[in-house]
């Protein structure tokens, strides 16, 4: 007997599932607004809205007073803004990985989490994209970084600068992710349009579904477009964070000028992204009773990916330290000693704990399935990934070549305000998404259910007719 391929398992748990019950669990979550009208939705939403106001205040101050409200100074020209930018961009990566790479590898289990993760990607990139523009001294001319070209501005941006590459990387990423997300939702919009009982959702989803009728030609084109976009997104998983890492690696600063940066940043991004997906998925599946769709197996496998990418990242830290000493470059060596024992030693120690040591408990299956502990690990990893960027930015810049110019860097209340504010924006958008859009891919879940149960396994024909898009059954 051939060993069972665990990845070909199917993942809708429980015995009483029907197409109708799945439609009710997933699709009607959007249509039946009363199901959101409770503490679990309102509390995070109001909190996030409050934090969003903090962001608006911090941005207003920033534009009217200047970057001087932050803690950046002469040796340390970059601070929270760049740290947060890299952090948010990294978080986005899990979504793309789940939607694109797992799709190409035909991993069926992605179906129950991809929509959710893609939304997270887009919102994280929105948070991230704000920083490179706003951290400039004159944000009102930050658009000069865009390749708007000589026709409008008289000159091109300076293409040798990694910051210009960033602009390309991030805008491409946002565009492709948004398209991917939207196209993936079109069949679901159509389902919601059809199921809606009142005018507003029917009209809104009707517009969004772009005339989807479920015709086989539609399905054909949909599948093609989706695959092409997945193909486009796949290199993005690797390229976006590689390019972000070049902001550092291209410079000549000890601690930045290292060839290991691109792969180690990509691993870190996926690592942080999965931590964030878990952080959101664990409470949401409970609050919205989705445990049978986002199952413990999903959770466990995401935890495994975290463990794997966490090990890549840890390997990166070891390499960095090793080469600092092995290179014989006195400045690199001094930088690494300063990282470990200088005034920011605590950040480096905390980083090693958060990203290197804490996730090792995920080797245990029990821990992987223990949701509260897993949540804590995910939080630790998120903090760790933020600290990683803090260590890279602050400890390199604050002590470089000439001791005379050495200094210290600390975030101010406005730095923290903007950081918390973007968390508010992220949560705010995420919670709107939870309420107004299908958070789990309706048709793919039903397709999965069909694959699990087959035609004969379908409990009740009536339910199948009512719930499943006709084409799915027709194509099979």
């Amino acid at each position: 007997m051939a060993p069972k391929d665990p990845l070909q398992e199917t993942f809708i748990e429980g015995s009483g599932n029907t197409y109708l019950s799945l439609q009710d669990s997933v699709g009607n979550l959007t249509l039946d607004q009363k199901r959101h009208n409770r503490f679990a939705w309102w509390f995070p939403f109001v909190l996030a809205f409050g934090m969003l106001q903090v962001m608006m205040l911090a941005l207003t101050m920033l534009v009217f007073v200047g970057t001087g409200i932050w803690g950046i100074n002469n040796p340390v020209g970059w601070g929270f803004a760049i740290i947060n930018f890299v952090w948010w961009i990294g978080i986005g990566h899990a979504g793309t990985l789940i939607s694109a790479i797992l799709l190409l590898f035909r991993q069926q289990w992605r179906n129950s989490i991809n929509r959710f993760a893609e939304a997270m990607t887009i919102f994280a990139v929105m948070c991230a994209g704000m920083f490179p523009l706003l951290h400039t001294g004159r944000p009102w001319v930050a658009y000069w970084l865009m390749p708007i070209g000589p026709n409008n501005l008289g000159m091109w941006p300076q293409f040798r600068s990694p910051l210009v590459w960033d602009v390309f990387a991030v805008t491409t990423y946002l565009t492709v992710s948004a398209l991917f997300w939207f196209i993936g939702m079109i069949p679901d919009f159509a389902t919601l349009r059809d199921k809606a009982k009142t005018f507003v959702p029917r009209f809104a989803f009707g517009m969004l579904s772009m005339g989807w009728r479920g015709a086989s030609r539609h399905w054909h084109r949909y599948e093609q477009a989706y695959l092409i976009l997945a193909g486009l997104s796949t290199p993005l998983v690797l390229s976006v964070h590689s390019i972000v890492s070049l902001d550092f690696a291209v410079s000549i600063m000890p601690g930045w000028h290292a060839t290991i940066f691109p792969p180690y940043f990509v691993a870190g991004a996926v690592y942080a992204g999965f931590a964030m997906v878990l952080t959101l998925a664990i409470p949401v599946r409970k609050w919205y009773s989705l445990e049978h769709i986002i199952t413990l197996k999903h959770i466990e496998w995401m935890a495994k990916i975290m463990l794997a990418t966490g090990l890549f990242v840890f390997y990166g830290y070891i390499c960095e330290a090793f080469f600092a000493f092995y290179s014989g470059n006195p400045f690199e060596k001094a930088m690494m000693i300063n990282r470990m024992s200088g005034p920011y030693w605590w950040s480096y120690a905390a980083l090693i704990f958060c990203n290197g040591l804490a996730p090792q408990i995920l080797w245990s299956k029990k821990i992987r399935q223990n949701l509260p502990v897993l949540m804590v690990v995910c939080f630790i990893v998120s903090i760790g990934m933020w600290l990683e960027r803090f260590v890279i930015v602050a400890t390199t810049l604050h002590r470089d070549f000439l001791p005379s110019s050495w200094g210290m860097y600390f975030g101010t209340i406005w730095d923290w305000g903007l950081y918390l504010g973007t968390m508010g924006l992220f949560t705010f958008l995420m919670w709107l998404f939870l309420r107004f859009l299908p958070i789990i891919n309706i048709f793919e879940v039903k397709e999965l259910f069909y694959k699990m149960t087959g035609r004969h396994g379908a409990p009740k024909p009536a339910a199948a007719v009512a719930g499943a898009p006709e084409k799915v059954t027709a194509d099979e």
Binding site: Q158, S251, I252, M253, L402, S404
Partner: protein, 1006 residues
């Protein structure tokens, strides 16, 4: 009803009347409060406020008025304009072109002594002060204070009007009031008149003062907050009569400094520094260096530079002087204090004796008279008189009255002998010795007048304050350190109502004349200058043949008082290294200028040696990165002062230093509340140091330093070595130095980036700079000059703490040690001026996303402010961290109308959010290039001089064209000592350094 309403609407008169009636607690605090009143609101609502005060005119009256006005308008044409000597050009003279600078010679006065300067003016607006090459005290160089004085000129907090007890008044009323006092005195109804002035060298001003004294029987007193009384007394003690010593450092092979800082204070210090540097130049095989032995109390620039240095308490310097005198065979019985050691004194004595006639013993300005007397005695004994030191007739107009004459004034006031007191300049209420309680004494004088550039603490206590014209606004004269007289000629009409002291005293002698006439008449009528000579004096800035005549210096037998020793903890009082005695407290450029040794800004601190700090249980090993310092309370007698503690390596043990000048309360918007006032600790008997101080820590406070790390961390940053090391290996590079990408022989061999095509097309002149670290004394003149030339913003104490100071050039100061052994007690001090290096492979350029920093064909790394969006990536990638970012709207201050006038029109004033940095004074390069194009004559070496280079007293900075084989900059770059900072980065900076060669006597025991 209408009438009633009209009445109520009337105008502000009712409101003012109402306010005038309010008393006591009814005082209104702000306009908001007033605006709540009914009258005010009605006034505000009225379409034509104040119309009630307009006369009700009918048509006929209106026509009558119109006709009369037209007649009067015609009449006004016949009125003589107020006599004015500087007028805007209606028809521009032929040689004046808008935008082309015109230079005028004038004289800058410090502690009464004049230094000749050339002032650059644009369209009649003085902008920048440079040294006058023809003037003996300058020789073309300047110092930090002279440079920054420009900001004092345009300071919006300067005194603007005559005030009587704080209310605006007029000159007529003030003079009338003074004349009334004189009349009353003559009638015997009022005590005599007294005049208090700073020590002056102006022969003209002194003549008028004497005339006034003779006319009115007034008494004349002199006082300087930080004066030279001890120096004058010392001379009198040595020679029995007053003379002024003039040193010639060019001729001195061996110099012994007895706590002297001839690089930064005292008459002629700029000239002395330049002469001194002539003996420190190393070219190829020529290494003929002078040698400096320094004994210092508070670490100073001479000590930092010295080849052999010892530290001791300020009170012990006299013992060193006695020991040295004994060692050279003059007198007997002197023994050096343990902290200095016999070996040092013996070695110094030996070298002095071996260099009779070509050595020099220099006493410190702040040492008691005995040290001065001993130093002069030694100089005469060693045959230096007439060679390395010349004694000339006293330069001060009245050198005798100087000695603490303010004490006699206080005494006279106390006994009711002063009815009217006229204080010309100075700030005695703030800086007089504490035991005199001068502020209290002022209240006992019936009528007090104070004239000053600022309305300061003294003006506040006086009845009348008279605004004084700044030296750039007034006529006058002053004498240099060697007695050479020069004219102070104004560059601009007084901005406010200021008059000069000279004009005032002439007016009080009932001979009111404009300053110009007073000065011209004095020199042409009294001193017999011909018209040509007068004009030449104005043009050159020096009056020929006025240098002090040498006098025979015959030593008197020295009757030294018993040594003034201190017990317990000693406090050494010093003027502040940047704001001096406190006059410059409101000068932002000087406040933010880092103190040369500690790199502290905006504050005066308690300086204490590491060992003493440990004994006093101060936080010695505090975290270098943390701006939190111990806040100490220092008590001397009954007075105490609170200031932050700074651990100063090289400070003598058992003593602390406090700088006076801070703690001003009436300095202005910038100077108020900075630092703490140390003057209350200083008494007549303890003007320079006091004993039995106590120090206790009372808390923590933040100090704004511009440099926190003081060691080079074993990196090859400042290269240095002794003469013997230089002879072994003239490159002075440490063993194992790599030569990659530098300007060595293997220049391109290892450079990955330069194989194949060149990155920039270099074409035309190739600008480069070389800085000789062996000549840099760390005096800050370059930093200050750059501030003025390039419109550098002042950011304030908090922003300096945040690391956001904007100086384009900084002087890094590192403490090192001989033979690599770290020494906190007496470290070697190294200075390294650092501005943008203009790297040929500049790392800042490729990382800028908008190409706002680019390379010119002439090798300049340029900033395009308009294009900069402010990502700060360039600064992050700069290994020297010389780029400066406008984190906030730092130049908002320059929107004030008077400070706007301070801005150099050739240099962009940078706004918020853009990066800036040294441009190699590109505006000067462009100017020279335009001239080159116009005239067709190729630029010569030296046609372009950067601001820092121009100011530098030691000429340690050379700038020029690399394509000119014969240029000075090429010559320096071919020196063996030439090296690149951080060569391994391969960025090929255009600024290189010459390693520092020191000349220590290895025989001196550590």
């Amino acid at each position: 009803m209408g009438m009633d309403n009209e009445q109520k609407r009337n105008d502000l008169a009712a409101l003012q009347a109402k306010l005038a009636q309010s008393r006591g607690k009814d005082l209104w605090r702000g306009l908001e409060e007033v605006s709540e009143t009914e009258e005010f609101n009605r006034w505000l609502d009225d379409e034509f406020p104040n119309r009630g005060t307009l006369p009700h005119v009918d048509r006929r009256d209106f026509l009558k008025f119109m006709g009369a006005s037209m007649l009067l308008a015609g009449l006004s044409g016949c009125r003589f304009l107020p006599k004015s000597h500087i007028v805007p050009h209606v028809m521009g003279p032929e040689d004046r072109v808008t935008g082309i600078a015109v230079y005028y010679a004038t004289t800058f006065v410090q502690n009464g002594f004049g230094t000749g300067v050339l002032v650059r003016t644009y369209e009649g607006r003085p902008l920048k002060i440079e040294g006058n090459a023809l003037h003996p005290s300058s020789l073309g160089a300047s110092d930090a204070t002279m440079q920054a004085a420009m900001q004092t000129m345009y300071d919006p907090d300067r005194a603007k009007a005559v005030t009587y007890r704080g209310e605006p008044s007029t000159w007529e009323l003030a003079l009338g009031s003074f004349r009334k006092c004189l009349e009353q005195t003559q009638k015997g109804e009022l005590g005599p008149v007294a005049i208090l002035t700073p020590v002056t060298t102006s022969p003209n001003f002194a003549a008028w003062l004497r005339k006034f004294v003779n006319q009115t029987g007034a008494r004349w007193f002199q006082y300087d907050g930080v004066g030279r009384d001890a120096a004058r007394e010392g001379v009198r003690m040595a020679f029995g009569d007053d003379t002024t010593p003039v040193y010639d450092f060019k001729k001195a092979n061996v110099i012994v400094s007895l706590d002297a800082d001839f690089f930064s204070e005292g008459p002629g210090h700029v000239r002395y520094t330049r002469d001194f540097a002539e003996r420190r130049r190393v070219h190829g095989e020529e290494v003929e260096l002078n040698r400096v032995y320094a004994v210092e109390s508070t670490p100073n620039l001479v000590g930092a530079f010295a080849d052999n240095k010892k530290r001791c308490k300020a009170s012990e310097v006299r013992q060193v002087a006695e020991a040295l005198a004994t060692a050279i065979g003059l007198g007997s019985g002197g023994t050096a204090p343990a902290s200095v050691g016999d070996s040092f004194v013996q070695q110094a004595a030996q070298e002095l004796l071996a260099n009779r006639g070509s050595c020099l013993v220099v006493p410190g300005e702040h040492q008691p008279k005995e040290v001065h007397a001993l130093a002069h005695a030694m100089n005469v004994f060693l045959g230096n008189s007439g060679l390395t030191v010349t004694y000339v007739e006293p330069v001060e107009a009245d050198s005798k009255s100087g000695v603490l004459s303010i004490g006699r004034l206080a005494e006279a006031i106390g006994s009711g002998q002063v009815g009217t007191l006229l204080i010309l300049g100075g700030n005695p209420a703030f800086d007089a010795p504490a035991d005199l309680n001068f502020a209290g004494a002022l209240s006992k004088v019936e009528h007090t007048f104070h004239m000053g550039v600022y309305a300061n603490e003294t003006s506040e206590l006086c009845d009348w304050h008279l605004p004084e014209a700044y030296f750039l606004e007034a006529w006058g004269d002053a004498r240099a350190h060697d007695g050479t007289a020069s004219i102070i000629q104004p560059l601009i009409e007084p901005l406010y109502e200021g008059k000069s002291q000279l004009e005032l005293i002439a007016a009080l002698c009932n001979d009111p004349r404009p300053g110009h006439d007073l000065v011209r008449d004095f020199w042409m009528k009294d001193r017999g200058l011909s018209k040509e000579a007068w004009e030449r004096a104005l043009h050159d800035g020096v009056i020929e043949g006025t240098a002090g005549r040498e006098v025979a210096a015959t030593l008197q037998p020295l009757n030294l008082d018993p040594a003034q020793t201190t017990s317990g903890l000693e406090v050494i009082f010093r003027p502040d290294p940047t704001i001096g005695d406190g006059f410059y407290a409101n000068n932002g450029w000087l406040q933010e200028l880092p103190k040369p040794l500690t790199k502290t800004t905006w504050d005066n601190c308690v300086y204490v040696s590491p060992k003493t700090a440990e004994e006093l249980k101060l936080n010695v090993w505090r975290d270098a990165d943390n701006p939190q310092h111990d806040l100490a309370e220092v008590t001397v007698g009954s007075a105490s002062v609170r200031a932050p503690v700074i651990i100063q390596p090289g400070h003598p043990d058992g003593a602390i230093t406090l700088h006076v000048g801070y703690g001003r309360t009436k300095a202005g918007a910038i100077g108020d509340g900075c630092g703490s006032n140390v003057y209350p600790l200083r008494t007549t008997a303890t003007m320079h140091f006091a004993g039995n101080a106590t120090l206790k820590v009372v808390g923590k406070t933040k100090v704004a330093n511009t440099q926190y790390h003081h060691s080079m961390h074993g990196r090859d940053i400042v290269r240095y070595g002794s003469v013997s090391k230089y002879k072994e290996n003239p490159t002075l590079e440490p063993p194992g130095t790599m030569h990659i990408g530098g300007h060595g022989k293997d220049e391109d061999k290892y450079n990955l980036f330069r194989q194949g095509k060149k990155d920039h097309a270099f074409d035309g002149h190739q600008w480069a700079m070389v800085i000789d670290l062996g000549l840099c004394v760390g005096c800050n003149a370059c930093v200050s000059a750059c501030n003025v030339e390039n419109n550098i913003a002042v950011v304030g104490k908090d922003q300096v703490i945040n690391g956001r100071e904007m100086h384009w050039i900084r002087i890094d100061r590192y403490y090192g040690s001989k033979d690599g052994a770290p020494s906190l007690d007496s470290p070697d001090t190294h200075f390294m001026p650092l501005a943008c290096m203009h790297c040929e492979m500049a790392p800042c350029e490729p990382v800028c996303p908008v190409a706002a920093t680019v390379h010119s064909a002439e090798g300049l790394n340029m900033m395009v402010y308009n294009r900069c969006v402010g990502t700060r990536y360039c600064s992050n990638n700069c290994p020297y961290k010389v780029r400066r970012f406008n984190f906030l709207y730092f130049t908002k201050q320059y929107e004030m109308p008077s400070l706007k006038m301070l801005m150099n029109p050739d240099v962009t004033v940078r706004s918020r959010g853009v990066m800036e940095k040294c441009t190699f004074c590109v505006q000067r390069i462009n100017k020279a290039r335009i001239e080159e194009k116009k005239s067709g004559v190729p630029l010569k070496d030296g046609d372009v001089i950067t601001a820092c280079q121009q100011a530098c007293p030691t000429q340690a900075i050379i700038f020029g064209d690399l394509t000119d084989e014969q240029s000075q900059v090429n010559k320096w770059r071919h020196e063996h000592r030439n090296y690149t900072l951080l060569p391994e980065l391969g960025i090929r900076p255009r600024t290189t350094y010459l390693a520092k060669v020191t000349n220590p006597n290895e025989e001196v025991e550590a």
